[in-house]
Amino acid sequence: MPHKLPDPQYVKENYQYMTLSKELEENIYIFQVLLKGNNDMVFRQISIGDKKVKAFLVYVDGMVDKLLITRNILEPIMIETRKLNKIIYTNDQLFNYINEYFITTSEVNVKDKIGDIIDDLLSGETILLIDGVEKALIISTKGWEGRNIAESTTESYVRGPKEAFVETLRINTSMLRRRIKHPDFVIENMKIGKYSKTDVSIAYIKSIAEDKVVQEVKKRLKKVQIDGVIDSGYLEEFIEDNPFSPFPQIAHSEKPDKVTAEILEGKVAILVDGSPFALMVPAVFVQFFQAAEDYYERYFLSSALRILRIAAMFIALLFPSIYIAETTFHQEMIPTQLAISIAAQREGVPFPALLEALFMEITFEILREAGIRLPMQVGQAVSIVGGLVVGQAAVQAGLVSPAMVIVVAMTGIASFSIPAYNVAITFRLLRFIIMIAAGTLGFFGIIMVVMMILAHMASLESFGVPYLAPMAPSKTQELSDVLIRIPWWAKILRPRTIQRKNIVRQEDTRG
């Protein structure tokens, strides 16, 4: 008696609400309708036990561990089930026997909704369908080729853990779990992306992280209705507080040690499958100037380096502008000898200082961009061309003055010393605005734009935490981790700007 198969169009539209039927033939038909044309789909027909019950094994080639399937699924159910000949059983009983006695992988689930089964199938699980049973066995066989854990390429330390996140979410969460062995450490999962169905994990410590922040993170993530999430950067733009600000309001890192440290301070980490960069919220401005290494090196050195970095920030932001303002409006502020030497260098330079600076800065930015995108071998050629042509030749051709080359070089180097790349980019952009203000209004212009930037920064918030905290609003005690870093044994409390639930970090062991 031929069973009447459903209409393919109907299946395509409604498969998410459908459940498996008793007829294996119909089930396979539905799968084939949905996944037609994919040559990486494997439908393996087998017979089980002495009764030769028909069954289908379905998986995606390349996403599963084939050795696991052969040894732990096929071998037991094709060979061992023959020993069942003494027992009388129904197909449903057979299904349970297989689940309980035969399949020897660690994780097996039973599901009957076709939508769920398809999702699992496409994320690398193996499906076992048995004739006459309305359920399917979802056998965990995920195993694909991924990148090995390697040293970080974007954040490198002299001292400290070297490993970095990879593209596989499970490996990343395991790296965090290995560092925080406490039942309060929670890793929650959700799927985002209509087509990509990307796994996203939210990691935090229940007893430290502020509940409101956790709820807010979940709420904002649930709102995301994009077709696919390729990198954590997608989500960052969706969930940040002020999307029109040039300042990053969410920190990211590819170092598990850094993320762990942030989680211990009460922050919430968001990990996205396929992206080695974890997001951390809430973020404050100063944290972009704190390298993880600050906490591993001795505190004297770390404090000195932090001060140096803040100085570098001001140089990166203001140095060319100050040069322009001083040479075109406020010459009296330059020491006499230096002014004479700058004037001598500028004799014969055809452009005003502002144009000269813009020309050099833009050239420098182009060089930097070219250097990042190019393969390493070609990149070297670019830096030679940049160094020689732009530096030496432009001076000799009388296009720019040597002092300007020094200013631009200083600015460039200073901007590299900011640990967080995303803030460094912000400063690179703002620098041009300040330069134009300096070239038209002198110091007045610089101060005006800086005030505007400061006002904007003061108005920013990241998940309820003021962006400039703990400087504004001022929390005197927490300033001990801003410009300087006090030794670990003196850090009795956690930063209260992030959370107020559980503020004692350690007992005061030094009195």
Partner: protein, 394 residues
Amino acid sequence: MKRFIILILTIAILLTGCWDKREINQLAFVQGLGIERGKDDMIHLIVEILKPGLLTAGGGGTGGTGGGSAAGKPYAVFQASGVDFAKAFANLNDELPRSLFMQYNEIIFLDEKFARSGIYQTLDFMTRNPEFRRTAYILVVTGGSIQELFNLPSSNELERYPYKEVMGLISNQANTASSYVSDLNEFIETLEIPKKAPITGRLVIVKKDGKATGIRLSGSAVFDNDKLIGFLEEQDTKAVATLMNKLKRSTLTLDKGLKGEKAHISLVVTKARTQISPKIKDGDISFDIKVNVEAYLNEQETKYELTEPENLEKLQTMVSKKIKTAIEHALFILQKKYNVDVVGFVDILHKRNPALWKEVEKDWDKIYPDVKFNVAVKSVIKRSGLSSKPIHPR
């Protein structure tokens, strides 16, 4: 729409800028401003303007400055005159291809004749105009014209142009205190204290066969109000500096040995503190001047051992006496010869005894020449250089 308006406003604000923009290479850096009074009573300005291209060796890398460093002086001298300072200044500007930039000028040279005729109007212009530094030093040039100073043969100079040479002299005189150089600020402040007279440095142009060959900072010029009235010798200048508590370091030479024999002993004064307090007795005003001096022995032609307390005591007494004589001499000159109060006794009296000051203020010019000063000097010799005992040749 709101954003558009903000954009327009930003552009409007930025475009109103630029109006006072001057590129640094379009400026005429003035270093050395001389003021004279011409024959027709006109104000005569002489400026030394630097040529940056020639000044910085290696600065010729950029296009237009390949003139070679040996070719000519690194500065040019320009002059202009006018009925007042502002007019002369404007005339000077008309002679120059670049705009005058006074901010780097830290010395104002006054011709002796001009200084004697009064410098009030110059001071007025300079304090009104933001381009002039209030920290610029004032020097009175004697023994030659400012023109001669600015065209001093470079073979006789250590620095590359006369202004720098003078600048060096000013900072170097701190070692000997043989001159007292005021800046514009101090000069004007002094002028504003009633009855107090400003002094400033005197620059002497040394001549040989009628040609200027060198310069020397020597003594100081005394003003009565804004008019130059005379000069103080180097010794008197040191004494005045001591009284004003401005002496930082100086040298002192005694021309007698400890037992009165003819020999020289030189000391370096490293510290001098003066306290002046007014005394009123039977309506007569007098001032008690207490000076504490610290010094060390620099050279002696005799062979006394200063480790002996007796010798040390004696030397200290001699030093005190010498300083006392010098101070009394300087006070005599100021009181009797010029009848001006450079030290600021008026100020002290005013502060300590305002009631009395009100009474005597009107007649002060008559009272001042007869005011008595009781000078008491206490000196301490702290060290004798590297050697505690003199060399005893066999």
